[in-house]
């Protein structure tokens, strides 16, 4: 449960274009780390390198090391499928499987991995939906299609689906950007609860959100369009927002650019 992530010298490419350059950072277990920065600076790309989803994109390629506790995710004999079972992900747009019911959506991870026993499945689904604060809203219609829920409910369904496989780390790529303030609040509360069990990394464009939910904040930036994105600094969230050590961070947070 809840592992430490240790990134060193990580660069990611799309074909020959370098999207992020030489990033090193440490993410502590049972904490929330927020990534902020202007669009196109490689936050999402970096997030996707943490569970080897980057290489799913055609032309995607990674150099460097990501240690999960002491195991390098990019080691020679590492199976990306196994990595993704350990490092779960929630996407920007809610994406429940349209052919499946609410129950099947949450059970999908276990069932599609063929590790599901029927008796356990119902328990896992209930536990995960409770964990995602969705159980009370859907317990009477578990057999209805997941795409019939509202946007905020769908996103919490996706979180339930991600935590049902019991990952060690949960990556969230702008999980609230398509949601209204009330649903956003529900997800933010949920993140606060989930960090007791998981290591959480969240990409967000909403700086108040980063300030509210995260323990540590990393600021990314790029020198110019077409240049690779870089990690400018990572520090405790209070320090980043109150007294950042780099001028660019302060400019970005106070709205002077970006």
């Amino acid at each position: 449960m809840a592992k430490r992530i240790d990134v060193s010298g990580l660069s990611a490419y799309y074909g020959s274009h370098r999207a992020i350059d030489d990033i090193s950072m440490t993410v502590e277990p049972r904490s929330v780390t927020a990534f902020i920065g202007p669009s196109g600076c490689g936050k999402s790309t970096f997030l996707r390198t943490l569970n080897r989803m980057h290489e799913v994109t055609p032309g995607g390629r990674v150099e460097g090391k990501v240690l999960l506790d002491d195991e390098n995710l990019y080691g020679p004999n590492v199976d990306p499928v196994a990595v993704r079972r350990t490092v779960g992900m929630v996407f920007q747009r809610p994406n429940p499987f349209p052919t499946m019911s609410i129950f099947d959506n949450v059970a999908a991870g276990l069932r599609l991995n063929g590790q599901a026993r029927k008796s356990e499945l119902a328990d896992v689904v209930e536990k995960s939906l409770k964990g995602a604060n969705l159980w009370n809203e859907v317990k009477d219609r578990l057999n209805k299609p997941g795409s019939g829920l509202s946007g905020g409910q769908q996103q919490r369904l996706c979180i339930a689906r991600a935590i049902a496989v019991e990952p060690d780390v949960l990556l969230m790529d702008e999980p609230c950007s398509a949601l209204d303030p009330i649903s956003t609040l529900a997800i933010e509360d949920l993140i606060g609860e989930l960090k007791e069990r998981f290591t959480i990394v969240i990409v967000t464009h909403n700086m108040q959100q980063a300030a509210r939910v995260s323990d540590r904040t990393a600021f990314f930036n790029l020198a110019a369009v077409g240049q690779p994105g870089k990690l400018i600094e990572i520090d405790d969230t209070e320090r980043i927002f109150a007294n950042p050590s780099v001028q660019a961070t302060e400019d970005y947070i106070s709205g002077r650019f970006g």
Binding site: A82, G88, M89, N95, T99, A108, L112, N113, G148, C158
Partner: protein
């Protein structure tokens, strides 16, 4: 109370946009129908007055009259922009009617001439011992032949086509995928007689006797590219986010394709396969070359000559007798019904399997 409120309401403001009101005089809703009737009357009137024999000429005059009347009337009563809009709408309608006329004419002719001899006896008897000039006989042997040949072709072509499409969309990149796409495109254009000749050349080399299976193989060649193309399009419609969602749960790629991508697209894939079946069910040329045709019931597709519905129609029509031509029309009706039922089944499956959005 509400009366008082209405009376106290301020008078409408005078039009402020340069004296022009936003509303304008308009034609009633039934105007297009009126123009159409008028056009037909003009067409019929001119045609009759000028003593034109050809009804096609009457129709052309009616169409032109319809377009002119609707354009002129609208530009006089409404304005130039509305008139252009009306003209475009009218042209669309005329084209639609022109497209539908042959379809209905074909259906009507087939049904009206086909029902004459179409009955239980016709569907359950073969042509064994029936001379082409005599009434009687039936289509049973041809129906069996079509079902078996098309069935075998479907069983062979669907998995091949499906897997090719999965390769092209999910795995293929580089030269091999481009080559496969190119050859699928080429195969789409193969005339059925060429597919038949291809199998025939193999048959002549190995000295195989004719059988339904050989026809099926030729039909398979015709069916594969259609299945590949339609499945490919359907798989491309599956949002990438679903694949990523599944991969991010630690599901291997092959299971993602099997359990997430294919179920999401299954409705469209089914429709595509059914359309491919409908296409090959009407093929005659390979059957003539490879299955030879027969008047007897042969329910074994692996040995001996068989018949099929299109071949039966061709054979009966060529015989040229009154009774045989009646049988040809009835068989045509059976073939159309066969394809129609397949299409309805496909639509049913597509609707039943389609991703549900209900709240």
């Amino acid at each position: 109370m509400s009366h008082a409120a209405v009376q106290q309401a301020p008078a409408p403001l005078p039009p402020s946009n340069g004296g022009q009101s936003l509303s304008h005089r308009g034609l009633p809703r039934w105007a297009p129908a009126g123009f159409a009737v008028l056009g037909i009357l003009i067409g019929a009137g001119i045609g009759a007055a000028a003593g034109l024999d050809s009804k096609v000429q009457w129709g052309l005059i009616a169409v032109i009259a319809f377009l002119v009347v609707s354009y002129v009337t609208t530009s006089v009563v409404e304005n130039q922009r509305q008139a252009k809009d009306r003209l475009a709408t009218s042209v669309v309608w005329v084209c639609f009617v022109l497209a539908v006329i042959p379809l209905f004419s074909l259906l009507w002719t087939t049904i009206s001439r086909g029902v004459k001899v179409l009955d239980g006896y016709f569907l359950s008897h073969s042509m064994a011992g029936v001379p082409s000039s005599q009434p009687g006989g039936g289509v049973y042997h041809a129906l069996i032949g079509t079902l078996e040949q098309v069935g075998i072709a479907t069983v062979i072509a669907t998995p091949i086509g499906l897997l090719t499409a999965v390769y092209l969309v999910e795995y293929g990149k580089g030269a091999l995928a481009r080559a496969v796409t190119f050859f699928v495109d080429v195969m789409t254009g193969i005339p059925s007689i060429v597919a038949g000749l291809f199998i025939l050349s193999l048959v002549l080399m190995t000295d195989t006797p004719p059988s339904g299976l050989l026809g099926s193989l030729a039909l398979t060649i015709l069916m594969i590219p259609v299945v590949v193309r339609s499945t490919e399009e359907m798989l491309k419609l599956v949002p990438n986010e679903l694949r990523e969602a599944s991969l991010a749960l630690g599901v291997p790629k092959w299971r993602t394709i099997l359990k997430v991508v294919l179920p999401t697209a299954i409705g469209g894939i089914t429709t595509g396969v059914m359309l491919a079946i409908a296409r090959i069910a009407g093929e005659t040329a390979p059957i003539i070359l490879l299955v030879f045709g027969s008047n007897l019931i042969n329910s074994n597709p692996f040995e001996g000559a068989q018949s099929s519905l299109p071949f039966y129609i061709y054979q009966e029509y060529k015989a040229g007798e009154v009774a045989s031509i009646d049988r040809a029309w009835a068989a045509a009706l059976v073939l159309i019904a066969f394809v129609m039922i397949l299409n309805l089944v496909a639509r049913g499956i597509a609707r039943w399997k389609a991703p549900k959005t209900g709240r």
